[in-house]
Symmetry: C2
Subunit: 384 residues, 2 copies
């Protein structure tokens, strides 16, 4: 396998986009290519993630992005894996480059849903789960994650204060991130006063619907040895699956796909969770961050809530988690999310993260989940 880098990265500010997805995606893609010190004509292959292009009446968007970049002849494909679409696309890019099939691959994810009403947006999201068994019976994502939160509370005593600590931390980080959808800190009081969406999850336990676009460029070290910025070395790129509908799983307090992917990723990279410098994890709901940190092995089952309350996962804590603000505060433009996590890691490694800069950037981990965990991607990055 060839040494494979993330050599460039860019994102827009998540939130509400006036431009179309393809416009935002093409612009951010160009920025990512330039940040690597490359030109579009050096790109061999493009992977796009845009799970809900139907909301803009547009599928097959790779040729449109490539045409906008002036490289229409370059092959492209769209990768979909619900909320883990762009990390799945990143994995494909890694395989092409590490395997010697391409030297420079563009991965761009974008989503635009803000022009829809909330019911329509929720309906689109819900088709990422097992529709006939879940959404068709009224169980959309807030309800499904609420079931996990209740099971976790019953088994480990996870408290409202612990869930709230995740929200407060991630909003504090988002307030320091100019790319974040929400850039205002919240207090525990504000969290507790927010309405219940699906008990025990309150409004501030839930990530928002966001528009957004993010892109990275994946390159072969041997072909492009002198990038314009400090690259991320891909130490592990692993994906795993799980039963789709949560009713058929043997546990509601863990995501089996995270455990599988993490175990293989740590083995491949030869590192343990405790030695990772910082984490970007999939906190679509506060409970999801706690479960992720336990599945990844950073904390024992049931211990992530206490660690969060104690500040261990703050951006200046011993084990920073979601310094970007996470899905919770940076936002969750579905198909931008996975690549957007890597953009944050790229900015941290290049010491461009301003007030949210984490102390240790030698290694970092990105964890991105599809639906309620029926797909999961784990990427571990190191330094040259």
């Amino acid at each position: 396998m060839r040494e494979t880098w993330v050599a460039g990265a860019a994102t827009n500010r998540y939130g509400k986009m006036a431009e179309t997805g393809r416009e935002a995606g093409s612009r951010v893609a160009l920025e990512a290519i330039r940040s690597a010190g490359l030109e579009p004509k050096e790109i061999d292959l493009t992977f796009v993630a845009n799970a809900f292009g139907i909301a803009e009446h547009q599928a097959h968007v790779g040729p449109l992005v490539n045409t906008a970049l002036g490289i229409p002849e370059v092959p492209s494909a769209t990768i979909e894996s619900a909320c883990s679409s762009s990390s799945a696309a990143l994995h494909e890019a890694y395989v092409h480059v590490a395997g010697g099939f391409a030297d420079a691959v563009l991965v761009v994810g974008f989503e635009k849903l803000s022009h829809l009403d909330t019911l329509a947006a929720t309906s689109y999201f819900a088709i990422g789960a097992d529709y006939p068994y879940e959404a068709h019976n009224g169980a959309t994502f807030p309800g499904l994650y609420a079931l996990m939160a209740n099971a976790h509370a019953q088994r480990y005593g996870t408290s409202e204060a612990e869930l709230g600590a995740v929200a407060v931390k991630n909003h504090a980080n988002g307030a320091l991130n100019p790319h974040a959808h929400f850039q205002k800190p919240i207090s525990p009081e504000i969290y507790r006063a927010s309405p219940v969406v699906a008990s025990p999850l309150r409004l501030y336990d839930c990530c928002p619907f966001s528009d957004g676009a993010a892109a990275v460029v994946v390159t072969a070290r041997e072909r492009f040895p002198h990038p314009a910025a400090e690259p991320l070395v891909v130490r592990a790129s692993v994906r795993a699956g799980s039963i789709g509908d949560i009713q058929d799983r043997s546990t509601l307090t863990a995501l089996p796909a995270t455990r599988r992917a993490a175990e293989r990723a740590f083995r491949t990279a030869g590192i343990e969770a405790g030695r990772i410098g910082f984490f970007e994890v999939h906190d679509c709901f506060t409970i999801a961050e706690l479960i992720a940190l336990e599945d990844l092995g950073l904390f024992p089952p049931g211990a992530a809530g206490r660690a969060t309350v104690d500040g261990i996962t703050a951006h200046d804590g011993a084990h920073p988690v979601n310094p970007s603000g996470g899905l919770k505060a940076k936002g969750h433009p579905v198909s931008a999310t996975g690549v957007g996590q890597v953009v944050e890691i790229f900015e941290q490694v290049n010491q461009r993260a301003g007030g949210r800069q984490v102390p240790r950037t030698e290694t970092a981990l990105a964890h991105n989940v599809g639906a309620t965990g029926s797909s999961c991607s784990v990427h571990i990055f190191g330094r040259r």
Copy 2:
């Protein structure tokens, strides 16, 4: 690169499915795995193609197929490239196996649209083109391909009789294929009597909307050296792109993406078009088959129509094209189509094609187009 095989293949009968896409896809996937002499637990990775899952309220369908197969832990992703979705998925499978990332990869494509009315189905199809420039202004696929047909006629004198000869040939082949949507031959008189859809294209110039499912299993020779059936050796797996909207292209009488992909595929495989035993090409409209054969270099520009009239591309002709019946008569369940072409090649190579059996099966080529050719996949297969 490791020698990579298509070691198993299966399809259902295209047409109208009573079962859901995921049910049909899972069943056909299991048949494909068994036809390779494997069990589901030997699958390392699943790629699904299902471009219009939205029509069944279901995205992220890989985990659902894997769960049905009893292998929920296996990673999966959905690949979309409009009508070339499943050949794009096959290419990803090839890269994973040839590059040593996986030993056995399932590729399954399926589509179900027959429960929608024709306008809704056409609207879904249309988002595969460049929506704001084309479908939004009323140019859906029949109109776009009619523009190409008119340009081709103006430049080369392509006649109604030549277009009709493609339809008559492919319906004759479909009549011999138990998997085909249409299994009735048509006469030139029936062709000429059919109504105009978009001049010069008549009803019988157009492929149907079909439901359907098709699957193949891609394996590493070194890991599974004794398949249950005669495998296809992947000699070339190449994809290319082109400008999305046809108004911006320099030609309407050729698909630049086909030319690019074919040139590289022939070079990789070390073979010329004239020496290929038979072809499955993307005949979404009759004109598309003629343009494909010219772009692939089997005939000079403008000569494919005459060759078709002369019977050269009949299943017992010198250069058989679409012995399956093609999209035209076998049918076009969008995301099953690309893999379905390979199923036909697998059946031909294993001498299971009955009355449509072609004489020379040492090499074969599959050509699959996304939209009006903004994406194209070319696969060349050989024998052990």
